[in-house]
C-alpha cells in the first residue's frame, strides 16, 4: 500500500493505459465498436456543426452584402473601389452559381439514376489527420444505414461506416482502409480499388502486369463488393506502370473532383451495365426535336423527302387529276391510270378552263398538304 502511494502517479498512468488497452483490444479482437460513446459524441457535436455551418453561411452572406453596400456608397467617387466591389461580387455570384449548379446536377442525376438515393450535405471531417472520413447531415432517422454507398453525379465517394440518428460517418475512397471492386471500361480488367490517404489519388490492386490498362481509361464499380451497385464511375487512370508482382495503377477519383459539398446516399442500389466507349458525365449533344408533322407546310416547300413519300405524293396527284378517291373503288371497277403524267394532266385541265392561260408546260402543281400516313401504313 505504501508502495502504491509512493508511486501513485505511475500507478494511475498504468491503470489508465491498461484500461484503454483492454478497451482497444476488445474492439480489435471482437471487431465490435463501442457504439454508445460514439453516439453520444456525434449527437452532441452535430447540432454545433450545423450551427457553425449556418453561422459561416450567414457571415459570408452578410460580409458580401456589407462589402456591396459599402462600395455602392463610394461608387461615383472611387472607381477603383468600384472595380474591387464588382470583383468581389463576381466571385460571390460565381460561388453561388456553382452551388446552384451542383444542386441542379445532383437533382437531375437523382431523377435519372435508377437507384433510390437520399441527398445529404457534408458537415465535417474526422479528427484523425491520416484518415479520410467525413460527416454527412443524414443519419439513421433518414434511413441511412452502415454499409450504404455514397456517390455524386461524377462518381463514387465512399461508404457509410457508421450511422447515427442525425448524422453519418462516410469513409472516403481515398482512405487507406477503403476497398471496392472495380473494372476498366475498355479492356474489362478487374481489380480492387484502395485508398492511399491522398486526396487526388487512389490505387487499383491485383492487376497483373500482362493485362492492358491505358492512361485515361475509365474504371467502374463491379457490384461484387456488396456496397456499390455495378456501373458507377470511379475515376480515370492517372498512370499505370508494371510492378514486381502486379501493375501499379493509379486512379484520379472522379467523385471527389471539384470539392465535396453535396452527396447522394444510395438507399436501394440498382445495378447498371458498364457503358461502352463513352466517358461518364461527358457532354452529349442532343439533336433538336423534329418539327411537328401535323403543322401545315408552306406552298411550294418540299413536304416529302424519301422516295416512298414522293411516290405517294405522285399517286395522290394522279388520283386528283382523274377525280379518283383512293379506297372507294369497288372490286372490278376501273383503276386509275398510274402511267398518267399528273403535271401534264393538271396543265391540260387548266388550259381547258382558261384558254388565255400560260402554256401547260410551264404550269406547276400546287403542293399538297395532306398529312403523311404513319410508318407501316400503305398509301391508298
Amino acid at each position: 500500500m505504501d508502495l502504491l502511494s509512493r508511486y501513485r502517479n505511475v500507478t494511475v498512468l498504468a491503470l489508465v493505459i491498461f484500461a484503454q488497452l483492454i478497451l482497444l483490444g476488445y474492439q480489435v479482437k471482437s471487431n465490435q465498436d463501442i457504439r454508445l460513446i460514439r453516439v453520444w459524441a456525434v449527437t452532441a457535436v452535430t447540432p454545433i456543426a450545423k450551427l457553425i455551418d449556418t453561422v459561416r453561411g450567414g457571415t459570408v452572406d452578410s460580409l458580401g452584402r456589407y462589402v456591396n453596400l459599402h462600395n455602392l456608397a463610394d461608387e461615383n467617387q472611387q472607381l477603383s473601389k468600384d472595380v474591387g466591389r464588382l470583383k468581389l461580387e463576381n466571385q460571390y455570384l460565381k460561388s453561388e452559381l456553382r452551388s446552384a449548379d451542383r444542386a441542379v446536377a445532383l437533382g437531375a442525376f437523382q431523377a435519372r439514376d435508377p437507384s433510390k438515393t437520399l441527398p445529404a450535405r457534408v458537415i465535417g471531417l474526422s479528427t484523425s489527420a491520416s484518415s479520410r472520413v467525413v460527416f454527412i447531415d443524414r443519419g439513421s432517422l433518414g434511413g441511412v444505414m452502415r454499409g450504404m454507398a455514397v456517390i455524386t453525379p461524377d462518381g463514387i465517394v465512399g461508404k457509410v461506416i457508421a450511422a447515427y440518428p442525425t448524422a453519418s460517418q462516410v469513409l472516403l475512397l481515398t482512405d487507406p482502409t477503403f476497398a471496392a471492386g472495380v473494372i476498366s471500361q475498355k479492356h474489362r480488367v478487374r481489380g480492387t480499388l484502395v485508398g492511399l490517404g491522398q486526396t487526388s489519388k487512389c490505387m487499383v490492386e491485383y492487376i497483373q502486369n500482362e493485362e492492358k490498362v491505358d492512361a485515361g481509361e475509365w474504371f467502374y464499380t463491379t457490384g461484387d463488393d456488396g456496397v456499390f451497385p455495378k456501373g458507377l464511375p470511379v475515376g480515370t487512370v492517372a498512370s499505370a506502370q508494371p510492378g514486381q508482382q502486379d501493375q501499379m495503377v493509379y486512379l484520379a477519383p472522379s467523385g471527389l473532383q471539384g470539392g465535396l459539398e453535396e452527396v447522394l446516399v444510395i438507399l436501394e442500389g440498382v445495378h447498371q451495365p458498364i457503358p461502352e466507349g463513352q466517358a461518364p458525365g461527358s457532354t452529349v449533344h442532343l439533336q433538336t426535336p423534329a418539327p411537328d408533322e401535323t403543322a401545315p407546310t408552306e406552298p411550294g416547300a418540299p413536304t416529302m423527302s424519301t422516295d416512298a413519300d414522293r411516290m405517294r405524293q405522285r399517286y395522290q396527284r394522279i388520283g386528283a387529276a382523274e377525280n379518283h378517291t383512293f379506297g372507294q373503288g369497288l372490286p372490278g371497277s376501273k383503276p386509275p391510270d398510274f402511267n398518267l403524267d399528273p403535271d401534264a394532266a393538271a396543265a391540260k385541265a387548266r388550259a381547258a378552263a382558261t384558254p388565255s392561260a400560260a402554256p401547260a408546260a410551264t404550269a406547276k402543281p400546287t403542293a399538297t398538304t395532306t398529312k403523311p400516313a404513319p410508318a407501316g401504313v400503305p398509301a391508298q
Binding site: 494511475v12 484503454q20 482497444l24 474492439q27 465535417g124 471531417l125 482512405d175
Partner: protein
C-alpha cells in the same frame, strides 16, 4: 560559464512561487479542448491545409504543463483523446492512449522546468508532436494493422509548424488563467 548558469536559472524552476499550479476558469477547461476538437473536425473542411494542425494535442500539452500534476495530465490527455477517438473512424482508445502519455510527459516536464519560457514551450510542443505521431503510427500498425505512412522529415516540418502555432495559442490561453 555564468551565461550557461543564467540560462539554466531561467529554465529550471528555482522557487516555490514558480512551482505554483496555474488555475484556470472552469469553463475554459471544458470549452478550450472542445473548441480544439471542433476546430479539427470542421475547419479543415474549408481550409484543407489546416488538417495537419493538431490543436487537441497542443491543448493537452498546455493544460498538462500548466497544471504541473502528472495525474491531472493523465486525465486531461485521456479525456481529450477519447473524445477525439469517438469522432474518428478508428477504435476508441488510440488517441486516448497517445494523449494520455503526452499529458503525463508534459506534466512531468512541467514539474521540473519553467514552462512559461517561450523556447521551452516551442521545444516541448515540437517534441511531443513528433512523439504523438510516432506513437500513433506504431499503434496503428501494431494494433490495427493499418498501412499508415510515417515520413520523419514531413513529421518534423509539421512539428515545427504546430509548435509555432502552439506558441501563439499558449500566449492566448495564458489569459484564461485566474
Amino acid at each position: 560559464m555564468s551565461r550557461d548558469r543564467d540560462l539554466s536559472d531561467q529554465i529550471l524552476i528555482g522557487s516555490a512561487r514558480e512551482r505554483g499550479v496555474a488555475r484556470f476558469r472552469r469553463w475554459g477547461l471544458i470549452a478550450v479542448p472542445l473548441l480544439a476538437i471542433l476546430f479539427q473536425v470542421y475547419v479543415p473542411r474549408y481550409y484543407e491545409s489546416l488538417r495537419y494542425l493538431e490543436l487537441p494535442l497542443l491543448v493537452t500539452v498546455y493544460f498538462a504543463l500548466m497544471r504541473r500534476s502528472q495525474i491531472a495530465g493523465i486525465f486531461i490527455g485521456a479525456g481529450i483523446g477519447l473524445v477525439q477517438d469517438s469522432l474518428s473512424p478508428q477504435p476508441i482508445g488510440v488517441f486516448g492512449l497517445d494523449l494520455t502519455l503526452v499529458g503525463y510527459f508534459a506534466a512531468s516536464v512541467g514539474m521540473r522546468i519553467d514552462v512559461e519560457h517561450v523556447l521551452i514551450r516551442f521545444v516541448l510542443a515540437f517534441t511531443l508532436f513528433v512523439f504523438h505521431q510516432s506513437f500513433y503510427w506504431a499503434l496503428a500498425r501494431a494494433f490495427l494493422g493499418q498501412r499508415v505512412l510515417f515520413d520523419l522529415q514531413h513529421t518534423a516540418i509539421l512539428g515545427l509548424l504546430n509548435a509555432a502555432v502552439g506558441i501563439s495559442l499558449y500566449h492566448f490561453l495564458d489569459k484564461l488563467k485566474e
